[in-house]
């Protein structure tokens, strides 16, 4: 939204915004905690409030057409998009294209935890969606694997929902998420945090029953004799994000294989001229305000690119 608004303010008259969900704002809608807006709006907002500032603004700009429930299935290097929308398949050709597709969460499989594959293993953001959007509590005795911001925030969220959070297990020697989240979401509720530890095995046939936790050395190798068990019915995986860039890859944009970010000569640019990427799909940001700032730059860059055609 920030990129579209900025492109419009920089003179672009005909903008189409495609959103796959049924409302604008993406992950902000489920991020009901505070901490947004401090740098951009100079006040403390929740995720939905932050999103609403932009949905209100974008709704007043006639040059921006918003298409919800629109799922892009194909993209070419000439910026031809094919997208699905309820009841139709549409094709559009863009002169300039901005991708703001965000991230996916890393999964249990990507951090190689041994054991069974029972129900009860959720990525932290999925659990956030279940609680905050769907009103469902995924479990009652929770172990958080990793200390990403969403995992820390969800530790508090589960406590507020009446669940028990047994521990946060982080393989590194410090929190992956912001310290403020460690303080207000974990320490505030006396949740034990184990740094330099990892979950080494998951037990349970139908549902998670317990996990093994073991201390690791600097090379992340297990230290023999340090293993202990934690009884739980739910594991939250919060071990990082991967930029969602399959569409631009389809179009032929060069990606960094390790991070899945576009290989980029300059902020928001890709190997295809006029195809821009902003926000978490360009690089993983800590703070939404920084995403907004760089996305506004992206909108301006797209507007300037159009003038060169």
């Amino acid at each position: 939204m920030a990129a579209a608004i900025s492109a419009s303010l920089n003179g672009v008259k005909d903008i189409l915004l495609l959103e796959r969900d049924q409302y604008l704002g993406g992950i902000l809608n489920q991020s009901v905690h505070t901490g947004f807006g401090l740098s951009y709006f100079k006040e403390v907002l929740t995720g939905p409030e932050y999103a609403e500032r932009f949905t209100r603004k974008i709704g007043q700009i006639p040059g921006i057409e918003i298409s919800l429930k629109s799922f892009v299935v194909n993209l070419t290097q000439d910026k031809v998009l094919i997208f699905l929308k309820p009841g139709m398949l549409q094709t559009v050709k863009a002169k300039a294209l901005i991708m703001a597709t965000g991230c996916r969460e890393k999964t249990r499989e990507m951090v190689h935890i041994a054991g069974t594959r029972p129900a009860g293993i959720f990525s932290a953001g999925l659990a956030q969606k279940l609680i905050n959007i769907e009103g469902l509590l995924p479990g009652n005795k929770v172990v958080v694997v990793g200390s990403g911001d969403i995992g820390l925030i969800m530790a508090r969220r589960f406590i507020l929902e009446g669940a028990e959070v047994k521990a946060v297990i982080e393989i590194q020697n410090q929190s992956r998420g912001l310290v403020r989240n460690l303080v207000q979401c974990v320490y505030d509720f006396d949740i034990p945090v184990y740094f330099n530890h990892k979950v080494s095995r998951i037990y349970g046939r139908d549902r998670v029953e317990k996990v093994d936790v073991v201390k690791v050395n600097e090379d992340f190798r297990e230290i023999p004799g340090t293993k202990f068990e934690l009884e739980c019915d739910t594991l939250l995986i919060s071990v990082g994000l991967i930029p969602e860039n399959e569409l631009i890859e389809m179009a032929g944009v060069a990606l960094d294989r390790k991070s899945n970010c576009p290989l980029s000569p300059e902020l928001n640019k890709t190997s295809i001229p006029g195809l821009f990427v902003c926000g978490n799909s360009y690089k993983v940001y800590d703070i939404a305000d920084s995403v907004t700032r760089d996305s506004e730059i992206c909108g301006k860059m797209a507007a300037e690119y159009l003038l060169t055609l």
Binding site: T34, S39, V44, P48, N132, V179, L182, D188
Partner: protein, 121 residues
């Protein structure tokens, strides 16, 4: 008595060194902005947090409505607040900022909606 706090006012997370005398803040250092000093004083004398959660809706286009307190509440009331919001059901359309529960928990703060919800579904 000296102790360390981590400021939670912004993502920087300054480590504050505070001098506490008789449960009152005597001196603070380590803060990079004035917010740190206000936070340290509150954290030592009367820790406060903004409470955020979701409440159940019926007959609206959202199943859960995100809410928050319009002012911070005492930290030791957060768990109570978590139980209290479960008693609330929203059945009428709301705008972001509308009061969902006045004088929430008798704390002289209001619980407000943080997202609009309209009739439907």
């Amino acid at each position: 008595m000296m102790k360390n706090l981590t400021c939670i006012e912004c993502p920087l997370g300054c480590v504050l060194s505070v001098d506490v005398e008789n449960c009152k803040l005597a001196k603070v250092s380590g803060n990079k902005c004035p917010k740190g000093e206000i936070y340290a004083k509150a954290e030592v004398e009367d820790p406060q947090r903004i409470f955020t959660s979701t409440v159940l809706c019926a007959g609206l286009d959202l199943k859960m409505l995100p809410v928050r307190t319009n002012q911070p509440i005492p930290k030791n009331k957060i768990i109570d607040a978590g139980f209290e919001v479960k008693k609330i059901k929203v059945t009428k359309r709301v705008c972001a900022g509308d009061i969902i529960k006045k004088d929430f928990l008798g704390l002289q703060v209001d619980l407000i909606a943080t997202r609009p919800a309209s009739a439907g579904k």
